[in-house]
Symmetry: C2
Subunit: 299 residues, 2 copies
């Protein structure tokens, strides 16, 4: 059961990345909500999409998501929207991540409450995804979103694509939304001193889950032309079970096969303190590691 | 100039570590203050002393220190106090450490304000120490405290030991206090797979400042009899300039001379998130490290 001391992260994506005054108005409405903090926001004009990072209490987030849908309804009409990033909703996806004083199960429960609210108050059908999914086919956001806004009316007529909340038609201007609980995701890249992207791809295949590597690692090779280097570009989707250090050290080991070295790394976006602390504990051999030993965890 | 968004840590030590009801009453009074949080407390009966770890706004800490002195005056009489740890005051020492939105200079200024308050409101003379010290002789707490409560009346008659606030006599029951700003201190130990404490001592001498090692490292060798191992036991007094990873890696290098290995480490008490993050960044070669990338730094 979710208590009001729970701290939850939410990373809603909405389908506007160009009109500055609209973006600002939406963010301002969310910022005005008590009990929630806007940790970050980033808009991409090509994608025509904005990613918000929020953290707050359940009550705070409930109001923040309300404010977001209210403003989206005012400003966004998907019939007039285009961009490179696939999307099916004005508010496309609303993930919830447990941060403190709550479990994944709590966040699943919370996501269902919010999904119901989105349907009941705004008439937007909701698919539950990831840990909140009601079937395996709905775990993966890409599968739910396939067909996008334009294909959704047709898709929802199929019984297996009836939404978890709402009827079998998308909202005319707001489309449909995916809502669900998931682990924090870390976007982490490791740089290699070779310009040969095939080597980066071989290493990516060695460390990623889909081709035999670490269970919670997604990876691909990327060229860094201006540096004459390459990169293993990754998403770590469960840093507790596939920690950062294990990924780095495994990449070092694989790189040796090709006479290649790890020359650096980068984190894109935000990273939870715990993910850093656990890898630190590995490197210095900390015997008594406990998250509570970090001063800031007690604030 | 200190603004009210500043977050400061304070680690006051008071001279009672035995009478549970007195300790609880003092801690309860501090906890009741708004704008300050008791992050930790630890009492030692042999030392007859309690260490509090607080964090709060300047206004919150001001009230917390007031509450602490009020309660100390009610419960503690140094004429009846004994314990293994040297002490000169009922509230023996009040350090301030900058955490967020403030500089060391801000904390020096704040420590002077608090020192003046302690003298004016409680009649307890105050010596400013560490970064707040008004002379080199007063930087070191041990030098100020030498002679302890019992010798303080005599010592304070010497012109060079006139306190920074107050007259030349200690308070009859509360003695005198040291107040000052300092960096966060990390108590960090590295364990070695040798039972020979002489090797641990040689390594300690190699890494510590006093005998030629790292500028902000204090170290000594310690036996861990029940493990048949030894330890380099350290205080890192400036983790920004002498970071944890550099200490660990230098110990590994020195240990090699003796065919000895680092087998583990431990942190005693609390450690600032930044100290962990900076060493993590070293080990994974993070090119874009910035404290702000840690989600919790934005809460």
């Amino acid at each position: 059961m979710l208590n009001e001391k729970a701290l939850i992260e939410s990373i809603p994506n909405f389908s506007e990345g160009r009109r500055r005054e609209v973006i600002d108005d939406i963010i301002a409405a969310v910022k005005a909500v008590e009990g929630v903090k806007v940790l970050d926001h980033s808009s991409d004009a090509d994608h025509n999409r904005t990613v918000l990072t929020l953290a707050g209490s359940p009550a705070g987030l409930r109001e923040a998501i309300r404010a977001l849908y209210r403003k989206a309804a005012e400003h966004i009409d998907l019939r007039k929207h285009s961009g490179e990033h696939p999307r099916m909703g004005a508010v496309d996806v609303v993930p919830f991540v447990p941060l403190r004083n709550c479990t994944m199960e709590d966040c699943v429960e919370f996501s269902k409450e919010i999904g119901r609210m989105i349907w009941e108050e705004f008439g937007v059908p909701v698919f539950l995804y990831e840990n909140s999914a009601t079937s395996d086919a709905r775990k993966n956001l890409a599968k739910i979103r396939k067909g996008e806004f334009e294909g959704m009316a047709e898709k929802m007529k199929q019984p297996e694509w009836k939404p978890d909340f709402g009827g079998d038609e998308p909202h005319p201007s707001l489309g449909v939304s995916a809502v669900g609980a998931r682990m924090a995701l870390i976007a982490f890249n490791v740089n290699l001193d070779t310009p040969d992207v095939e080597i980066a791809n071989k290493i990516a295949r060695a460390v990623r889950h889909i081709s035999g590597g670490l269970r919670y690692c997604k990876a691909m090779g990327v060229e860094l032309k201006d540096r004459n280097q390459t990169q293993v570009s990754m998403n770590l989707v469960n840093y507790k079970k596939t920690p950062i250090y294990r990924v780095v050290e495994l990449i070092r080991i694989e790189a040796k096969r090709y006479g290649v070295n790890v020359v650096g790394s980068e984190i894109v976006g935000l990273v939870p303190m715990e993910a850093i602390a656990e890898s630190f504990a590995y490197y210095v051999g900390l015997e008594n590691y406990d998250f509570e030993m970090i001063l800031e965890s007690r604030l």
